[in-house]
C-alpha cells in the first residue's frame, strides 16, 4: 500500500514538473487524473509510455459538454498499479485533433469510433478524414 502511494506520488510530481499539468492522485478511488491542454496531450502520453511504462491504452472516450468535446484517455502500466486518466477539451467549432496511434496502436480503433459518432478528425489516422477530403465531388478520393 505504501509502495503504491509513493509510486503514485512520484508519478504525479513527475507529470507536474515535466508537463506542467496538475495531476491529482485520489487514494480512495485509486487513480491519477490529469487535465491537460490539447497541445501537450501527445507529449504527456509519450512521456508516460517511455518513462513510466504506460504501454496500454485501456479506454478512450469522447463526450459532449456544452460547446466542447471532452476526450478521455485511460492508461495502464504493468509497473505501477494505479491507472492514469488524462482528459482534454476540444472546441466543437474546430473538431480536429492529433492521433495517438503512433504511441498506442489500438488508439486507431477508438478514434475511428469517435469519428463515426462525433465527426472529430484525428490527423494522422487514415480512417478519420474530413468530409471534403473524402468526397470525390469536392476533389477528394473515395473509399473504393
Amino acid at each position: 500500500m505504501t509502495g503504491r502511494y509513493y509510486e503514485a506520488g512520484f508519478l504525479s510530481h513527475d507529470i507536474k514538473m515535466v508537463i506542467g499539468a496538475e495531476a491529482d492522485y485520489n487514494q480512495s478511488l485509486k487513480k491519477i487524473s490529469v487535465n491537460v491542454r490539447k497541445e501537450s496531450l501527445t507529449f504527456l502520453l509519450d512521456f508516460l509510455f517511455t518513462k513510466w511504462g504506460f504501454n496500454y491504452l485501456l479506454l478512450m472516450q469522447c463526450r459532449e459538454e456544452g460547446d466542447k468535446y471532452r476526450i478521455t484517455y485511460v492508461l495502464s502500466s504493468r509497473k505501477i498499479s494505479v491507472p492514469v486518466i488524462a482528459e482534454t477539451f476540444l472546441l466543437k467549432s474546430v473538431p480536429v485533433f492529433t492521433t495517438v496511434g503512433m504511441i498506442f496502436r489500438c488508439a486507431y480503433g477508438y478514434e475511428r469510433e469517435i469519428y463515426s459518432k462525433f465527426g472529430i478528425v484525428f490527423e494522422g489516422n487514415p480512417d478519420t478524414v474530413s468530409y471534403y477530403v473524402k468526397n470525390p465531388l469536392t476533389g477528394g478520393e473515395s473509399d473504393e
Binding site: 478511488l29 487513480k31 496500454y56 485501456l58 479506454l59 463526450r63 495502464s76 486518466i85 498506442f104
Partner: protein
Amino acid sequence: MNRRYPRFYYTPSREIVNGNVQIDYEIENGRITNPFVYFGYDRVISSADIGKRKYVEAIPLVSRMSFADKHTCEELFASSVEELNSTEVPLLAKHLRVLILELSRISAFFLNVFNISSALKFSMAKSWSLSDMKRVQKLIVEIKGSEFYSPFIIPGGVRCNVLSKTMGLVEREIGLLESKLNDYDSLLFQNELFRIRTSGVGEITKREITEFGVTGPSARAGNVSFDVRRRLPYEIYNEIKLDAAAYSFSNVYDRVLCRRNEIADSIRIIRYILSNIPHETEFINREGYSSGLLKVREGTVFRRIEGVNGEFVCLMSSDGSERPVNVKFRSPVYHIAGELLSKLIGRNSIDDIDLVLASVFLIPMEVNL
C-alpha cells in the same frame, strides 16, 4: 486501403463464433490478402443505454450486456457504485460474488471448447462441452434462485443468500467437473491430432500483445502474465494464491491450454470458497443499496475486473444525482476484434480461419459496448 476485386465473403457458423461475423477477403496465390472483419448488430445493450437511465433502472440492463461475461459486467457496475459511495460489502456477499464469477468462467470455458471442437469437427468433445456448459449454467441458476439472465451481483452485495443444500450441490458438481476435466485431457488437450492441428496456427506475437493491448488468456499464453485477480485483487482474491504458468507462443494450442489450466485454478478457488464461506446471514448492505442507489456521490471511478477474455473495464462519472453523467464499458474482445484479427486471418491459411476465430473466443455483442 484500396480493395481489389473479385472479393470473397465468408460467414462462419454460429457454432464457431458466438454471433454474426462476416469476413471479406481477396485471394492471391492461394493466400488470403486484405481481410476485413465485419460484426453484425448483435448488441442488445450498450454503455449509452446505461448512461441514460437511473442507477436502479440500469441494474437489469447491465446483466444483458454480454451473455458470456454477464456477471463480470454486474460486478463492474456494482463495484463502481460501491466505490463512489464508499459502501462496505458484507463478507458473505464477497464470497458469493467470487463463486458466481468463477462458475461463469468455467461455463465460458466449455463454450470455448465447444467452438474449437466445432471448428475441428470433433463431435464428441463438442457434445460433451455443450452438455457441461448447460450443467454449469443450471448450477448458476440454482445458486441465484431465478433465471440465468436475472441480476445477482447488485450494488451493496448480492441479491439472495445461498442455501446449504445448494452449496452441497455445488461441491458435488465441481467434483464431477474436475474428474471430467481428465477425460477432456485424454480426449482433446493431450490428443496428438489436436496438438498437431493447433500448434503453430494463429500465433499472436508478444509485440502484438503489447501494441494492441491484448489481455487475458490470449496474452498469458504469449508469456505476458498479467492477471487482474493477482496483480490488483478485488473481493476476496487477495486471500487466494493464483498460479502463473509460463507458455511460449500465443498460438491456438497454447491459448486453449492456458484456458484449461486456468479452469483448474477456478475449481481451486471454488473449493476455497466452499470451505471458508462465513457463517453469516447478511448478504447485502441494505442501507448502502437503498440510499446509495438513489444518490451516488460525485466523482469519477475506473474499475478493472478479470473477465472471461481478459481485462473488462468500466469508467463511471457521477455528478451526485440519481443518473450517471457518463458510463463506458470496454470489453477485452474489442482489442482482439479490430486490426489484430484481420492480421491474424491474413497470415493464416484459409483452412484455419475457423480455428483462429474460435480460439480467440469472439463475442461480437461485446465489441462495441
